[in-house]
C-alpha cells in the first residue's frame, strides 16, 4: 500500500486539503460549502494520509484522539449558542461583530457554530475510519 509516490503526495496534500477545508468552512455562509463539507474534506485529508502512512502515523499527525475533536466541536457549538445568554438573548441567537484585521472580517456566533460542526465532522469521520481500518 505504502508506495513512495502516494506517501510523498499525501504529505503535501494534507496541508493543501486542510486549507481547502477551512476555506469551505469560512465561506460557507455566502457560497456553497460550510462546516459539514469542510469537515469531510479535512477528514479525507487525514484518511488519505492514513492510507499512505498507516493509521498510527495519521493519529500521530492529528495529535489528538478524534473523540476529543468531537467533544470540542460539540462544546464549540454549544458555546456559540450559550454566548447569547450573556446578552440576555435566546439560545443560539446570532450575534455579530466586525473584526478589522488585514481585511474586514465579519465574525459571528453562527460562524463559531459552523466551526463546531466542522470539528465534529472531522472527529466523527476519522473515528469511524480509524476504528474500521485498524481492525
Amino acid at each position: 500500500m505504502t508506495s513512495l509516490i502516494l506517501s510523498t503526495a499525501t504529505t503535501y496534500l494534507l496541508p493543501l486539503l486542510l486549507l481547502l477545508s477551512v476555506y469551505l468552512l469560512l465561506h460557507g455562509h455566502d457560497v456553497p460549502g460550510g462546516g459539514f463539507v469542510g469537515g469531510v474534506v479535512a477528514a479525507a485529508a487525514f484518511a488519505l494520509y492514513a492510507i499512505a502512512h498507516g493509521v498510527e502515523e495519521a493519529r500521530r499527525v492529528l495529535h489528538t484522539h478524534p473523540r476529543t475533536l468531537i467533544g470540542l466541536g460539540l462544546l464549540t457549538a454549544l458555546l456559540s449558542g450559550v454566548i447569547a445568554f450573556v446578552s440576555n438573548e435566546p439560545f443560539l441567537k446570532g450575534l455579530w461583530t466586525t473584526v478589522t484585521l488585514p481585511v474586514e472580517w465579519k465574525l459571528g456566533t453562527p460562524t463559531l457554530f459552523d466551526v463546531g460542526v466542522y470539528l465534529v465532522v472531522v472527529g466523527v469521520t476519522l473515528m469511524i475510519i480509524f476504528s474500521v481500518a485498524e481492525d
Binding site: 473523540r67 476529543t68 468531537i70 467533544g71 470540542l72 460539540l74 462544546l75 454549544l78 450559550v82 447569547a84 445568554f85 438573548e89 435566546p90 439560545f91 443560539l92 441567537k93 446570532g94
Partner: protein, 503 residues
C-alpha cells in the same frame, strides 16, 4: 425564566461533552449523576413555572415563530420532562453498581445523557422536523446502548431494533415531507392552523396515518411492536430499564401530541382506529407476556400491553380519557422501570432471569419482595397504588364515552396482568430456590457490600415510595394531569403561546 426550557437539553449535552473530553470512567460516573440531578432539578423548575405561568415557549435563535424553531412546554410536556429526569437519575444511580467496567469505559454514561437529551428534546420541541431530529438523537443513542458490549444476543436484538426503527424514521420523514408539501410550514402550532384550512381534508388524514405508523412503531403498538420484545431483554438491565421508562413513551407522547394538536378533523376515523389498536395492543401484549418464562422477556411484553392503556385515553379523546392516559404513562414509567431494576437485583443475586431456576427470594430478601409486590400490583392496577387510579380513570372515561368493548378489554387485560405478575411472584419469591441444598449460588457477588447494594436499592425504594404516594395522594396528582389534559383538548392556548396573538 425562558432558559428553563433549554436546560433539560443543554444539561445532558454538556454532561455528555464533558464525559467525551475527560473520558475517564470514574469522572464520568460522578458527572453522570450530577448531570441527571441537574436535569431533574431544571425539569421540576420548568413544571412549576408552567403550572404557575401557563404554557411557556421560547424561540431558539431569536427568530420569531413560525420561522425559527420553537420550544414549548405545556403541562404535559413538563410532566414528561420531569419523569425523564427522575427515571434518568434513578437508573444512573443504579448503574453505578450494576454497570460493568467495560461498558462504562466505552461511553455508557455520555450515551445515556445524549439519549436523555433526545427524549427531552422530543418532549419540548414545537417543530415537527426538529422532533424528527430529536427522535434520531434518541434513537441512535439507544441503538448504541442496545449493542454496547456486543454480546451475541445484543447484536441479534440490535439488528431488528435498528432496522424496524429506521423504517419508522423513514415513514416519519415522509410524513413531515407530506405536511410541508401541503402547507409549507413546520411549526406545529402553525401547522395546526394551516391544516385546518386544507381542502379536501382527506389528504390530511392520509398524512395522519403516516404519523400514526411512524410513532406507532416507536410506541410499539399492535401490530408494529416486534422490535421491542426482540431486543429489550438483551442489553444490561439498567439499559432495559431506562428504555422501558422512556423510549416507547416518547412514541406515545408524539402520538398524543399530533393527534390532539394537528389531526383532529376526522376523529371518528382516526381516533376510532387508535382505540381499536389500543385494545389489540393490550390483548396481544399481555398474552405475549403470559407465554414467557423469563423475567425480563415477560416484562418486555408487558410494556407493549401497557402502551395500549396509554393510547386508549387518546382514542377516547375526552379530557378524562387523556388525563387517564397521562396518569397511566407516569404510573407505568415508575412501575415498569422499578420492575426492571428489581429483575436486575434478582439477576445479580441469583445469576439468572429464568423463572424456573429462581426462587426463595421472599425469605432471603424480604425488603426486595415488598418492593416487587408494590410495583407488580401497581402494574396490575391494584388499589390503592398508582396503577389503580389510572385504570379507574380510563375505565370511567371509557364508560362515559360508551366504548364498552375497550373497557371490557382493559379490565380483562388487567386480570391477565395480575396473573403474570403472580406468576413471577410465585416463582421468584415464594418458591424455594431450586438451587438450594446444592452449592450456595453466586451469592459471593459484590452484592454483599453495603455501599453497592445501597446504590442498587435506593432507586428502587424511592420509586416504590412514589408509587405508593401517588396512590395515596391521587387527588393533587390527578388535578395536575387534568390540567394537562385540558390544555391538550384546547390547543388554542398552545397555539397562542407559540405564535403570539397572530390572526
Amino acid at each position: 425564566m425562558k432558559v428553563l426550557l433549554l436546560l433539560p437539553l443543554l444539561i445532558p449535552l454538556l454532561t455528555a461533552i464533558i464525559s467525551l473530553l475527560v473520558w475517564d470512567r470514574r469522572l464520568q460516573r460522578i458527572f453522570g449523576v450530577i448531570g441527571m440531578a441537574g436535569l431533574l432539578g431544571s425539569a421540576v423548575g420548568l413544571l412549576r413555572t408552567v403550572c404557575k405561568e401557563g404554557i411557556q415557549a421560547v424561540q431558539v435563535g431569536g427568530w420569531p415563530a413560525p420561522f425559527g424553531i420553537t420550544l414549548v412546554a405545556d403541562v404535559f410536556a413538563a410532566i414528561m420532562v420531569v419523569m425523564a429526569g427522575l427515571m434518568g437519575l434513578a437508573v444512573m444511580v443504579y448503574s453505578l453498581t450494576s454497570m460493568d467496567k467495560r461498558r462504562e469505559s466505552f461511553g455508557y454514561y455520555p450515551l445515556t445523557h445524549i439519549m436523555l437529551m433526545g427524549v427531552c428534546g422530543s418532549f419540548l420541541t414545537g417543530d415537527i422536523f426538529n422532533l424528527y431530529v430529536w427522535f434520531e438523537v434518541m434513537l441512535i443513542a439507544s441503538f448504541v446502548l442496545t449493542e454496547l458490549g456486543s454480546e451475541k444476543a445484543q447484536l441479534e436484538g440490535a439488528i431488528k431494533y435498528v432496522t424496524l426503527n429506521l423504517v419508522s424514521s423513514a415513514l416519519f420523514l415522509t410524513a413531515v415531507g407530506v405536511l410541508y408539501g401541503m402547507v409549507g410550514t413546520l411549526n406545529m402550532a402553525d401547522l395546526a392552523n394551516q391544516l385546518a384550512k386544507v381542502k379536501p381534508s382527506g389528504l390530511v388524514t392520509t398524512a395522519s396515518m403516516l404519523f400514526f405508523l411512524a410513532f406507532g412503531i416507536k410506541a410499539a403498538v399492535f401490530p408494529l411492536f416486534f422490535w421491542l420484545p426482540a431486543s429489550y431483554h438483551t442489553p444490561p438491565v439498567s439499559v432495559s430499564a431506562i428504555f422501558a421508562a422512556l423510549l416507547t413513551k416518547v412514541g406515545v407522547y408524539a402520538l398524543i401530541r399530533v393527534f390532539s394538536l394537528l389531526f383532529t378533523g376526522q376523529t371518528a376515523a382516526t381516533h376510532g382506529l387508535i382505540l381499536a389498536v389500543a385494545g389489540l395492543t393490550m390483548a396481544t401484549g399481555v398474552l405475549g407476556a403470559v407465554a414467557q418464562n423469563d423475567f425480563r422477556r415477560l416484562l418486555s411484553f408487558h410494556i407493549v400491553s401497557q402502551i395500549g392503556y396509554m393510547i386508549m385515553g387518546l382514542g377516547l379523546f375526552t379530557p378524562l380519557g387523556l388525563a387517564g392516559s397521562i396518569f397511566h404513562i407516569v404510573h407505568n414509567m415508575l412501575a415498569k422501570t422499578n420492575l426492571f431494576l428489581i429483575s436486575g437485583v434478582v439477576h445479580r443475586v441469583k445469576g439468572t432471569y429464568q423463572l424456573s431456576s429462581l426462587g426463595g427470594l421472599s425469605r432471603s430478601s424480604p425488603g426486595l419482595a415488598i418492593l416487587f409486590l408494590v410495583s407488580a400490583f401497581s402494574l396490575a392496577g391494584m388499589p390503592p397504588l398508582s396503577g389503580f387510579w389510572s385504570k379507574l380513570i380510563l375505565v370511567q372515561a371509557g364508560l362515559q364515552a360508551r366504548e364498552y368493548t375497550i373497557v371490557a378489554v382493559a379490565l380483562v387485560v388487567s386480570l391477565l396482568t395480575l396473573y403474570s405478575m403472580t406468576k413471577i411472584w410465585n416463582e421468584v419469591f415464594w418458591k424455594t430456590d431450586p438451587a438450594e441444598g446444592e452449592q450456595e449460588p453466586a451469592k459471593t457477588d459484590s452484592f454483599g457490600e453495603a455501599e453497592s447494594s445501597l446504590a442498587l436499592l435506593a432507586p428502587i425504594v424511592v420509586i416504590g415510595c412514589l408509587i405508593v404516594s401517588i396512590g395515596l395522594a391521587a387527588q393533587p396528582v390527578f388535578a395536575l394531569f387534568e390540567k394537562a389534559a385540558h390544555q391538550l383538548m384546547n390547543p388554542a392556548e398552545y397555539i397562542r403561546a407559540v405564535l403570539g396573538e397572530l390572526p
